[in-house]
């Protein structure tokens, strides 16, 4: 009997492969928590394409990918339901603060406007030092008619920061580690290339414009 047909060796090989599969399955089961409900959304909740976006307002790739999604959403408003969540990265100086301000803007019904402004003006505020960032974000909020007093109270509330941090921790629980990360109908996609491929595939299926 040749080495490839040795029954003992084959049995042992199958056992090793099964052990590998079992260990990965168990590790994944303990690693990932179930997703919870989402807060900031636009579009039709019954749309065939559900997108959950994890972004960092200071990340350039997030801005580019968000622009692509906005264009796609405009062309196919009835086919896409889009939800946004915070994932401020540590390496960016103003990420956490921008998310806190966006959370506070959301309390005045201005989340999407504030988010758009943050992404459009990203190059400008990203270059600012730490002590100049609050006045800039306050200026943006004022443009939207949000009172500076209300905004400051909200931004200084530790519970608001906690919401952002918890959202990030929760995202880590289901495998998000960088931005932009998306869940398209529950399937994870990271970066512009992956999200473009995924959306185009789904739009082709639904027969809509790309």
């Amino acid at each position: 009997v040749g080495p490839f047909l040795n029954p003992h060796k084959l049995k042992l090989s199958v056992l090793i492969i099964l052990l590998c599969v079992l260990s990965v399955t168990l590790a994944r089961a303990f690693r990932f928590e179930p997703a919870r409900s989402f807060v900031f959304s636009s579009g039709n909740p019954k749309a065939p394409i559900h997108i959950v976006e994890y972004l960092d307002f200071q990340c350039k790739s997030c801005r580019l990918t968000h622009q692509y999604l906005e264009e796609t959403f405009k062309k196919n408003p009835s086919k896409i339901y889009w939800q946004v969540r915070y994932f401020p990265l540590r390496g960016h100086l103003h990420s956490l603060k921008s998310a806190v301000y966006a959370e506070c803007a959301s309390r005045h019904g201005k989340f999407f406007e504030f988010q758009r402004l943050l992404l459009e003006e990203q190059d400008r505020w990203s270059a600012l030092p730490k002590d100049a960032i609050d006045s800039t974000f306050e200026e943006y909020a004022q443009k939207m008619g949000i009172s500076t007093d209300h905004l400051r109270t909200c931004v200084n509330d530790p519970r608001v920061k906690e919401i952002v941090v918890l959202e990030k921790q929760s995202a880590r629980g289901f495998g998000v580690k960088e931005t932009p990360t998306y869940f398209v109908n529950g399937k994870m996609a990271v970066g512009l290339q992956a999200i473009t491929e995924e959306i185009e595939k789904l739009l082709e299926k639904t027969g809509e414009k790309k």
Binding site: S13, I16, S23, A27, K177, K187, A189, V190, A194
Partner: protein, 135 residues
Amino acid sequence: MRLLLAVIFMASGFLKLVEPSANFLAVIHSYQVVTGFPARAFAEAIPWVELIAGAFLLAGLWIKFSTALLWVLNSFFIGIIAQAILRRLPVKDCGCFGEAFLSFTLPQALIFDIFTWVLLILLFLSRVDKRKLRC
């Protein structure tokens, strides 16, 4: 040497597999070599190859075959990383060990991969030599 290589590849495969494959797919995309189906296929298959071939090395089964397979994979990694360095691609983390367990920059990853590449050759040759001696 066999055990060291087994641990390296098993850890590398396992740590990628416990994360969603989308994270490793993003790493593959960041090297700007493959996209679409081939990229997705690599993202799904490479960690399993690393884990199972590493487990075979650990168990002392199919040593020559596993070593050759991992050597081919490692040569592919070296090529991919080298082209990323030459093209100055903005790849922050090589993605060698999944999520932040061991984070290597591209030059560090290249040195590490060359080191494992040499070890794989030595292991393969040691198996060949033993067979020759038996003949």
